[in-house]
Structures are given as structure tokens and as C-alpha cells.
């Protein structure tokens, strides 16, 4: 199967810390994959590298089969086609919800003010935030901010969306509204790679789960596989821990 986004032998080193160690994964059109693993296992680093927000120390990244760094692609152009949702939503604080989404539509894609407005509003409707279009991030709850963050990413019509623990910073009551939006996206066939510990989300929508520890991939399998009989001791322990 042709992968939209893929990394081969990706390694990222910060000083002496090997944050990601020789990882190869890929995601094909319409797939939803979940990455999970203990804190510090390298999930964020891996996603940032795949999102072309950070350059790998070694290894390659392929976007639609093209080796991004070897063929010297225009990174800005590619980033526009890869959505990224951050753990702290990182909304632009000086712009309203609508303004946050319109910025990329206007200054990256080049839509006119009115086209950008229509498209941004559409994206807000998808995440059920249209009533909050003219509110500033500081006036929104964490869950609402995160939904706007998701709208900002999907409004660009990316080919794949990367989520870095989008619900980790939220209170339990607020998690569900965000997870509901993500499920909805997965059901619509959005290609998604999601770092999360929300196992219910994983169970319902993930085609594949990837367990990481200490920068390496320890085990890959279906949700079914991880819930019933993970192979490795580490995965077993970790599943037990988060299932509480």
C-alpha cells in the first residue's frame, strides 16, 4: 500500500539523549494509527519529525513516496499538507477562533478574505465551534481551544493529520468533546496519526497501535491484540497501568 507519510530508520538525538531511535513507520490513506508509550518515550519527537517541524539526526522521511530531505523539498509547502495538533493547543493568542483558521488559508493557500472566511467557518462547524467564531483563545475552555486547534489543522485540507496527545492537558469532562471530534474525523476517512493514551478512542477507531518506549518501537498490533495479549512484557505492564 502506498504510504502518505513514512519514516525509515529515523533517529533524533538531543545532546546525549537519543529521543527517537531507529524508528520506521508509515501511514496510508484513510488509516488511523495510535502511538502510545510512557512519558519520555519519544512520541512527540517522532511526530515533530514526521510533521517536518524538526530535522531528524539521521534516517529519511517520505511524503507520498518522495524522500523529503534528500530531494530538498520546499518544507513550507509540505507542512501545509500535513496537519499538526499540539498538546497545548498553541492557538494564536492575538486572533479569534475564526482568525486562527483564516491565517493559513489566506497567507499559505492564498484564498481571498471571503473565501477564507467561508472555509474557516465550515471548519468551525465540523468541530461544533461555530458559535464561538469571534472569541479569543483566552476566552475559551481548554477543550474548546483544542477543537479550534483541530479546525485550524483540517481547514487546510491536509493529506494527513498528526495529533500530539491532544487531550493530555484537559480535565476529564473536557476530554470527551475533543475525542468525539477526533472520532468524527476518523469516521470521515481522515488520515490520522495520534499520540494518545485514550484507549477507548484507540479501540474504536485505530487500525493499528504502535507502542514506544525509550525512543524505540517495542510492539505494533491491532487494538484487539494489545487489549488481549500483547507479546512483550513492557507493553503488558503499560496496558495494565493505563487501564488502571
Amino acid at each position: 500500500m502506498n504510504k502518505i507519510l513514512e519514516c525509515r530508520n529515523l533517529t533524533k538525538i538531543y545532546g546525549k539523549v537519543v529521543a527517537v531511535n531507529n524508528v520506521s513507520i508509515g501511514i496510508g490513506k484513510g488509516e488511523t494509527k495510535v502511538i502510545f508509550g510512557p512519558s519520555g518515550s519519544g512520541k512527540s519527537t517522532l511526530l515533530r519529525c514526521l510533521g517536518l517541524l524538526e530535522k531528524p539526526s539521521s534516517g529519511s522521511i517520505y511524503f507520498n513516496g518522495l524522500d523529503v530531505y534528500a530531494t530538498r523539498q520546499d518544507l513550507n509547502k509540505l507542512r501545509a499538507r500535513i496537519g499538526f495538533v499540539f498538546q497545548d493547543p498553541s492557538l494564536f493568542r492575538h486572533l479569534t477562533a475564526l482568525g486562527n483558521i483564516m491565517l493559513g488559508l489566506k497567507h499559505v493557500i492564498g484564498l481571498s478574505e471571503s473565501e477564507a472566511w467561508r472555509k474557516a467557518y465550515e471548519a468551525l462547524r465540523l468541530v461544533k465551534m461555530e458559535d464561538w467564531a469571534n472569541y479569543y483563545p483566552a476566552q475559551l475552555s481548554g477543550g474548546q481551544q483544542q477543537r479550534v486547534g483541530i479546525a485550524r489543522a483540517i481547514a487546510m485540507d491536509p493529506e494527513v493529520v498528526l495529533f500530539d496527545e491532544p487531550t493530555a492537558a484537559l480535565d476529564v469532562e473536557l476530554k470527551w468533546e475533543v475525542i468525539a471530534v477526533m472520532k468524527d474525523l476518523a469516521d470521515r476517512g481522515t488520515t490520522m496519526l495520534v499520540a494518545t493514551h485514550e484507549l477507548r478512542f484507540a479501540k474504536e477507531v485505530a487500525d493499528e497501535m504502535i507502542f514506544m518506549d525509550q525512543g524505540q518501537i517495542i510492539e505494533i498490533g491491532s487494538p484487539e491484540h494489545f487489549f488481549t495479549s500483547p507479546n512483550t512484557e513492557r507493553a503488558k505492564k503499560f496496558m495494565a497501568k493505563i487501564l488502571g
Partner: protein, 216 residues
């Protein structure tokens, strides 16, 4: 002249003082933003240039720059024979160094994750600075810029020495022509306070309020 006449005479010089301050502020603003941006880009020579500029002009008295340009450079480059231009220019290049520092610290407090988020939607680094970082930095810089305007209004008094007809010059004319020293100097001082204090206070309040509202 009656006291009232003297005060009116002083007030007539206020537009020139304000013009010098405002123009040099705007010049310094452009320069400050440019210098702050140069610090952010990857190019080492640009960073070095901006850094040296800032260090140098934050350590040199405005008056020294003004006198050097007017008396030293003026004879060779005619534009510096114009006292008004030379005073705006001198105040501006020194203010540029101050404003660069104000913007640098403001940009620093906007935070790295905003840049990452801007890059993630495909904005170039320059557009990210222009549309995401700079607008937020401007809000954060407003209180500092308020103090800078106040400083420029005060420092514009140096222009009197190279012959600009501004508030300090009018004060000096009164000193020479009238009996009382107290009235011209005290009135002039009060006029300076009235020009600087409200601007600085208003911008400080406004900036702090915006900062809170937007959660910056």
C-alpha cells in the same frame, strides 16, 4: 511679557518638540523592529551586526551623536547641516537600539510554541514573524514603548543646542529676555511633564490590560 504671554510663548514651541519626538520614535520603531528581526534569523553576520549596533548606541549619549553629526558630518554631507533633521536622525538611531531591546524581550516572551504552530500550517519563517510573532510582541512591547516615547520627548530638549527652535529654545529666549528665571523654567518643566506622563501611563495601562485579556 505677562506670565500668561510667556506661557503662551512656550506653548507655541510644543508642536516642534512633539514633531521631533514623534518622528524620531517612528524612525526608531522601524529600526528597532528590523534589528530585532536580524537577531532572530539564522545568519550570524546579521546577528552580530544587530548586536554590535545595539550595544554601541545604548552606551553613547544622544547629545554626542547629535553634535558629531551636526558639526562633524554636516560640513561634508549637507543634510546634516539641517538641525531639525539631524536631531530627529540622532534621536532615532539611538532610540532604535533601545527599541530593538524592547522588541527582543517581547518576542522572547511570545514563546517558541507559537512559532512552531505558525510553521506547522505552512507559513514561512518570515510570514510567521510578520503575522503571528510580531503582532503579539507589539502588544507586549507597548508599555516599554510608552517609556521610550517619554524618554524621546525629554531628550528632544538636546536639539536646542544645535539650534532647533523647540520648547527648550523658547525657554532659553525667555530666560535671556525676561527678569524672572523661575517662571520660564518651571512652566517649561511642567509642560514636559504634561506631555510625557499621560502618554507613558496610558500606554502602560493599555498594554497591561491587553496582555491580560489575550493571555499573553
Amino acid at each position: 511679557m505677562t506670565p500668561i504671554e510667556q506661557i503662551i510663548f512656550l506653548l507655541k514651541a510644543v508642536p516642534v518638540t512633539l514633531a521631533i519626538s514623534l518622528l524620531s520614535f517612528l524612525f526608531g520603531l522601524g529600526l528597532g523592529i528590523l534589528l530585532a528581526f536580524m537577531r532572530i534569523f539564522e545568519s550570524a553576520p546579521l546577528r552580530y551586526l544587530s548586536d554590535s549596533y545595539e550595544k554601541f548606541f545604548r552606551s553613547v549619549p544622544v547629545l554626542a551623536v547629535m553634535l558629531l553629526l551636526y558639526f562633524g558630518v554636516g560640513p561634508f554631507i549637507p543634510i546634516f547641516k539641517d538641525p531639525f533633521f539631524t536631531s530627529v536622525f540622532s534621536l532615532g538611531i539611538v532610540s532604535g537600539a533601545n527599541q530593538s531591546q524592547i522588541f527582543r524581550s517581547a518576542i522572547g516572551s511570545v514563546g517558541r510554541t507559537q512559532m512552531l504552530a505558525a510553521i506547522s500550517i505552512g507559513l514561512t519563517r518570515f510570514k510567521a514573524l510578520r503575522y503571528v510573532i510580531l503582532p503579539q510582541a507589539l502588544f507586549l512591547a507597548v508599555p516599554g514603548l510608552g517609556s521610550e516615547i517619554a524618554l524621546l520627548i525629554k531628550d528632544s530638549a538636546y536639539s536646542f543646542i544645535i539650534g532647533v527652535i523647540e520648547l527648550m529654545k523658547h525657554t532659553d529666549i525667555l530666560r535671556a529676555s525676561q527678569r524672572s528665571l523661575i517662571l520660564p523654567y518651571v512652566s517649561s518643566a511642567i509642560i514636559y511633564v504634561v506631555m510625557t506622563f499621560p502618554v507613558a501611563t496610558f500606554l502602560d495601562k493599555w498594554g497591561s490590560r491587553k496582555k491580560k485579556e489575550l493571555g499573553l
